[in-house]
């Protein structure tokens, strides 16, 4: 079975011990059965158990292991080891723009505050139907590409506007979720949701540079959703 040595350059910072962050060179041997970057990280953790990173489902569903891999945000569990050239060092840093708790673990409080600010739940004041609130296949189709977000924060932390104004700009993940409910025909709070975003900061700080689209591990398109929100706002006033 082919073994391979992977070289890593990892961002290390333990606020209890370190005065400032530093990059640590470390190598780990992986087997041919180790397919993803997360497999290598688990081996790395076995070698040096002081390295801290989040992970859970290891199959791109929980969104826990978002990190900056060779300068691009992504999920360690979806990053294929075969795409990293032999002998080339893999540089791992925490998601940019969020406070570091330790090593590759970031504090996502601000990210989730913005997510919660768009009320990410169905608002419908009609009496509960006996079975379910129905939609036509076309109405349901509109939600595709919106509901699949796993809130890994890869997109928002790749967005310079979110770096500069994380407290005011909702960020691509939050705006994608906002459109998910604005587009939902079962939701009755469309106007309130649009009002909530009609601000120079919350939505309109997006300058359409599309970093979010480039890094989304689920292949979603927050920029398109943001464009649709703007479109609805314009149609509302004309």
């Amino acid at each position: 079975m082919t073994k391979r040595i992977l070289k890593f350059n990892i961002y290390r910072y333990d606020p209890d011990v370190d005065r400032k962050p530093y990059l640590q060179d470390i190598e780990v041997e992986v087997d041919a059965t180790d397919r993803k970057l997360l497999d290598a990280l688990v081996k790395l953790k076995a070698k040096d158990d002081s390295i801290a990173f989040r992970r859970s489902c290891r199959e791109g569903v929980c969104g826990s292991d978002g990190m900056n891999i060779n300068g691009t945000n992504g999920l360690a569990c979806l990053a294929d080891l075969s795409t990293f050239p032999d002998g080339k060092t893999i540089v791992l840093r925490p998601l940019p723009g969020l406070p570091v708790i330790r090593d590759l673990i970031v504090d996502m409080t601000q990210f989730f505050k913005q997510y919660h600010s768009i009320k990410p739940y169905l608002i419908n004041n009609d009496p509960l139907p006996e079975r379910e609130r129905l939609q036509s296949p076309e109405e349901r189709e509109e939600l595709n590409g919106l509901y699949e977000c796993i809130l890994c924060a890869c997109c928002s932390t790749a967005c310079p506007t979110f770096w500069w104004n994380p407290d005011k700009f909702v960020g691509p993940a939050g705006l994608l979720a906002a459109y998910r409910f604005i587009a939902d025909t079962r939701d009755q709070a469309t106007n309130e949701r649009l009002d909530n975003l009609e601000d120079p900061y919350r939505l309109f700080r997006c300058h359409t540079i599309m970093n979010c689209v480039e890094v989304c591990p689920k292949g979603l398109n927050p920029t398109k959703a943001i464009g649709k929100i703007k479109d609805m706002m314009v149609r509302r006033i004309i």
Binding site: N165, D199, P200, R202, K230, I237
Partner: protein
């Protein structure tokens, strides 16, 4: 003072829309002037004077100046909003930008109407 995050000013959409509309006006002006130049309007001062002082050109060039100023104000203010955090400095930069834009716009109109 408590440090509440203040958002909710409802001019985001209007400014975004204005920036696009003024962009279209400037693009139309550029095409018109480019076409006129290709037709040799810039070959002599008299021809250029006649072209720019015609009523349609006065109309469209005034619109272009207003559009440029409005577009520049929103664009520069957006930059301050992105990168400048302290409210006092931000307000000062906003005011200075607005005054500069108004001054430049007035100056441009004076030049245009002197024709």
């Amino acid at each position: 003072m408590v440090n509440r995050k203040l958002v909710g000013a409802h001019y985001g959409l209007i400014d975004w829309l204005v920036q696009r509309i003024t962009g279209v006006v400037m693009a139309v002006f550029t095409v018109v002037v480019g076409f006129a130049l290709s037709e040799g309007v810039g070959s002599s001062y008299e021809r250029w004077y006649g072209f720019m002082s015609s009523t349609p050109m006065r109309f469209i060039s005034f619109l272009c100046i207003v559009s440029l100023c409005w577009h520049a104000w929103i664009g520069v203010r957006d930059t301050w909003m992105d990168y400048v955090q302290p409210a006092g400095i931000k307000l000062t930069l906003h005011v200075l930008t607005l005054l500069s834009v108004i001054g430049c716009g007035g100056w441009a109109v004076q030049i245009l109407w002197r024709l």
